[in-house]
Symmetry: C2
Subunit: 249 residues, 2 copies
């Protein structure tokens, strides 16, 4: 519980490598995660070599932690292994569709979170890289992911070289619904975001970015429509190329 | 770590309810999960009422644990709350596309796994219901999920009334790739699945189902193409109806 409750994303790492036995221990925690029908339709690519990390760097928008952290883990939805098994066993796999991709992505994400908690529980720091889905096409090239395999998230792992404060979160009540979904009134929304909007960091961001509201920093800068649509096109093309968009009988 | 390493899916539950303070504690663990840009684009619907669980029951293929477990948690990708905030703050949300759905789904799944580990760490049992994506349209009706909200997984939680053995898993080496993806040879596949194929349970399943190979039980029965394609159509329609397939500028 302590690992879960004290999670911080770590963006600065010491150069200390992760002992092989510890790395194995945290990865082993991954395979204990729930998995659809016990199919384990995921793979973990463990990258530590300088040259390959350097190729991954632009895929993650040149964030220095990709080079700094000793280990980069790319979690992939993977039906390649399962499909090969089926074909070798006189069975016809029907996993070249979107549902199967999403099933495999769920598998991969539960594994990723187990690995992160195990890492943090052992004194390591982690950071998820959301860039993985934006540049999945390039990551596929670098990591030589075959058909049936799509990267869904990346985690850097290493010994922390910073000790950031716990990040603010919305109140639990804001994300919780009792029995069925209780939609938000105008007043609810004002209340839910009031604390975040009142933070000193918010005021600083508004000044730096010349914006009226914190929401505009998200819609205009950080997660804007132009990028979202461009990345959507990449991701849908990747799903098609990797063999997950054959959605007819 | 113990909670992670000793995870079993629990399918039989005692009628004992979960104390409100404990439920809050495990849900609180959820909001500490990593989330894209600290947007928290997810919601958790906590269903405990008999009548609503009964409506959810067919959505989960009438698995008795939906009624038996005191709590059913539906984890949703949710841009509704964030979009409303943007609109109230003179900001134009650009989150009606597939990339945004997938971002929100990642958020929701990391939250779900945190909640599961916290639950197991407190003596509760859990089981993921993969049926959520197959019948997302019906779950949306039952839980009154508005546009911008898609259920991605469901977890039942309660006090275990069974103590199953640890489920077999492929060896860690089978799902791990060093530096880049190392594709599988015919011999690799034979080796990876040998232990699973040799299990007494496998022999029993082959006899019961009249199949030659374990793989055929997956492709012909459990996860067959006809179902996968049908469920794909449901899921893609749901994404469109819920406002996540406006993939052009």
């Amino acid at each position: 519980m302590k690992a879960i409750l004290s999670h911080r994303s770590i963006r600065k790492y010491k150069s200390t490598p992760i002992e092989e036995s510890l790395l194995n221990e945290i990865l082993h925690a991954g395979v204990r995660a729930s998995t659809t029908g016990n199919m384990q339709v995921y793979s973990i690519v463990v990258t530590t070599e300088h040259d390959i990390k350097k190729q991954l760097l632009p895929c993650h928008f040149n964030q220095p932690m990709v080079m700094q952290a000793p280990v980069v883990l790319t979690f992939c939805a993977d039906f390649n292994r399962f499909n090969k098994w089926c074909l070798q066993r006189n069975a016809k796999p029907g996993y070249d569709n979107f549902l199967s991709f999403f099933t495999a992505a769920i598998d991969a994400l539960l594994v990723a979170q187990n690995v992160c908690i195990a890492a943090e529980n052992n004194g390591l720091g982690i950071c998820y890289l959301g860039t993985t889905t934006y540049t999945a096409d390039k990551i596929i090239d670098v990591l030589k992911l075959p058909k049936g395999v799509v990267p869904v998230t990346t985690v850097v792992v290493g010994y922390p070289d910073e000790a950031p404060e716990l990040t603010d979160r919305l109140s639990l009540a804001a994300v919780l619904h009792r029995e069925i979904y209780q939609d938000y009134s105008v007043g609810d929304i004002d209340q839910i975001y009031a604390a975040k909007e009142a933070m000193p960091l918010t005021k600083k961001l508004l000044e730096e970015n010349g914006k009226e509201t914190l929401a505009q920093i998200f819609t205009d800068n950080r997660y804007n429509r132009t990028d979202n649509v461009a990345f959507t096109k990449v991701l849908l093309k990747v799903l098609s190329n990797q063999g997950f968009m054959n959605n007819e009988m």
